[in-house]
């Protein structure tokens, strides 16, 4: 899930820095205080964002968070109510969609049903007025790219869903856009095909070097493919960062909760020194001790977030663990490679713990109602003040 991804290659010497950390880098597309209202409803609220050349950028959020509206504004199907959209420094807003160097892959694929696969791919090239020979060449190249050489003369309703998805991709890429927008590109595929296609999309993106902006509600999809993710909620950006940053250092309860599973424990800071916080969270229970850069003076109400896989379970209290409590296993979710334990800890507080199944089930150590210890060390969790 948290596959590390190399930053896209840059030509200059300061290539050590990814472009979004390089203050000198010019963004390919810049959104400046963009607002979009539909009547009384504000879909996008004063949003600013830079996306750089060669990025695989994901807009992630639940449905209705404004991510699709944002994408449609970049494509030109909606105009912002306020703010500017700049592409390579030039204002994109007055440019109609058919003149933008941006192409979109639609969620429904929107293949032209009356045209063959090859004619679908050639559609944009013909509009660009390319000579016939070059169109044929480009179409063949695109068909090779998505491995559909044998289906050039089929109609969209004569091929499978997975193949349609590839035609849509080829058609959108044929004009060699500077930015490819992908609106939930994998939503209509089944799980297995989706996983395979995710890696294929990344592969294609790396080969072409085109900037991809993908809209998705699937956090796993965003984590797998994107070089950076923007988590959105109610028309605002909540956090923008690499998948690792978003997962390991979420800046709010919303992000922590939206990306993966998390235990959120509310408490009060009772001691703070040398980057170490002590958080009281339940009566009669040992406090949480954690390292944190967050400036939280004594008395602050905070939320402590810890991922299920960062907690260990054992029959005995582990030696030297900064945080360890006893609890009762209430539920076990068997996922094959992993098991999720629901443990009722001090004060009836439930914790989700995930541990890999290194042994076969018949020899599993714990069962329902067992009393176990669960523990994590000082650096496993995160303190959120929001």
């Amino acid at each position: 899930m948290d596959t590390a991804k190399a930053p896209p290659p840059t030509s200059d010497a300061s290539a050590a820095l990814p472009p979004w950390q390089d203050p000198a880098a010019e963004p390919l597309i810049r959104l400046e205080n963009v607002t979009k209202r539909f009547g009384d409803f504000t879909a996008i609220a004063d949003l600013s964002l830079d996306i750089h050349e060669g990025e695989f950028f994901a807009l992630l959020g639940p449905s209705g968070c404004g991510k699709t509206t944002l994408m449609r504004m970049i494509a030109g199907f909606e105009a912002p109510s306020a703010g500017r959209i700049l592409l390579g420094g030039e204002d994109l807003v007055p440019v109609p969609p058919n003149r933008r160097p941006v192409n979109m892959m639609f969620q429904s694929y929107a293949l032209f049903p009356h045209l063959t696969v090859a004619d679908n791919i050639a559609f944009g090239l013909k509009r660009a007025g390319l000579p016939r020979g070059e169109i044929a060449e480009r179409v063949a190249e695109m068909l090779r790219l998505v491995q559909l050489e044998n289906f050039a003369h089929r109609r969209p309703h004569e091929i499978s869903g997975g193949q349609r998805q590839r035609v849509a991709l080829a058609r959108a890429l044929a004009r060699r856009p500077r930015i490819l927008l992908l609106d939930e590109p994998l939503a209509a595929l089944d799980r297995k095909l989706r996983a395979a296609t995710q890696f294929e999309l990344v592969d294609i993106q790396e080969r072409l070097g085109t900037t991809f902006i993908i809209v998705t509600h699937d956090q796993e999809e965003a984590m797998t493919m994107a070089s950076r993710i923007a988590v959105m909620d109610h028309g605002r950006l909540v956090q923008v960062g690499t998948p690792e940053e978003i997962y390991e250092q979420p800046n709010s309860r919303y992000v922590a909760d939206f990306i993966g599973e998390v235990n959120l424990v509310e408490g009060v800071v009772t001691a703070a020194e040398n980057g170490r916080l002590v958080i009281d969270w339940a009566e009669d229970a040992a406090p949480i001790v954690t390292r944190s850069d967050v400036a939280a003076p004594v008395g602050t109400r905070v939320t402590f977030a810890i991922r299920p896989e960062k907690i260990t379970v054992g029959a005995e209290a582990p030696e030297g663990a900064a945080n360890a409590w006893q609890g009762r296993i209430e539920d076990i979710g068997y996922l094959g490679n992993l098991s999720t334990y629901h443990i009722v800890g001090p004060a009836g507080r439930r914790f989700k713990v995930q541990s890999p199944n290194r042994r076969r089930v018949a020899r599993r150590e714990f069962s329902w109602e067992d009393r176990v210890w669960f523990a994590f060390d000082e650096t496993a969790g995160l303190v959120l003040t929001e």
């Binding site: 109609p96 009356h114 944009g124 509009r127 969209p156 309703h157 004569e158």
Partner: protein, 266 residues
């Protein structure tokens, strides 16, 4: 599933009720006798006679001309109206407009004919082929609007956006993508208007002038002098034409339903 005896009987009755009169008419159009009710052997003489009857041929020519031109006008206007009604869901007076476009479907022909006649008189337009064309286009346009708008409602707008996204101008998006996709509905609308114009008697009677007599008008005036076998022959030809039209329409719509099924899956 096998049909029970009861179902076979009811099916036979129903179809007999519908098609027996037409069958009788077709058979008697090949009757050698001058008397409509007496069978005197097979002959095509009434067809031959029909094709030598100047007045009938003139009327047939007028009818075809009116049907072709009015169906074409109605198709263009009806498609445009359907487009606006479906695409621009929020403009002032939309509900009124959409109600008004469908109203002529239920207004009695007599009233429609009369109102058009009054309009032509008020505007001082000479009545003739032109006024019949205008009148037919007026009422068949509503049918086209109904047929085309029901197709446009299920049309995936993303197709047009995709066309724009791929560099097509709005006009190209319409002519290269929307129109081909909705073409079966447009053609159905045209055929419907054509047929409606072909067999309209009431409205044509109101708005035609002395020089313009359509086939239905001709038949109707002939019938008052007694049924002639010629009319049977003429009716048979008309029935054949209409049947071809109906079959073509249904094949077209079945085909587009297939394509649409593929489109919906995609």
């Amino acid at each position: 599933m096998k049909l029970s005896r009861f179902n076979i009987v009811s099916l036979t009755l129903c179809f007999a009720f519908l098609y027996l009169p037409i069958l009788v008419l077709v058979i008697y159009s090949f009757n050698a006798s001058k008397l409509v009710t007496v069978w005197a052997g097979f002959s095509t003489r009434w067809y031959a006679k029909l094709f030598h009857d100047e007045a009938f041929l003139q009327a047939a020519f007028v009818t075809l001309k009116v049907a072709l031109v009015s169906a074409s006008i109605a198709t263009v206007l009806g498609t445009m109206a359907a487009w606006v009604l479906v695409r621009f869901s929020r403009f002032a007076g939309r509900t009124l407009f959409s109600g008004m476009i469908f109203a002529p479907l239920v207004i009695p022909d007599v009233i429609l004919g009369l109102s058009l006649l009054l309009l032509f008189i008020a505007m001082n337009i000479d009545r003739g082929v032109t006024t019949i064309i205008i009148a037919h286009a007026t009422f068949s346009m509503c049918y086209v609007a109904v047929v085309v708008s029901s197709r446009l409602v299920t049309f995936d707008r993303a197709l047009e956006e995709a066309a724009l996204d791929l560099g097509a101008t709005p006009f190209q998006a319409f002519s290269l993508v929307t129109l081909p996709v909705i073409a079966p509905a447009v053609v159905s609308g045209w055929l419907l208007s054509f047929t409606l114009s072909l067999d309209d008697l009431v409205i044509a009677s109101f708005v035609s002038g002395p020089a313009a007599t359509t086939l239905p008008m001709r038949v109707f005036s002939q019938i008052r002098l007694g049924v002639s076998p010629e009319i049977n022959a003429l009716s048979t030809i008309l029935i054949t034409l209409v049947t071809i039209g109906v079959i073509t329409t249904s094949i077209l719509s079945k085909r587009s339903a297939l394509v649409r099924a593929g489109e919906a899956e995609g």
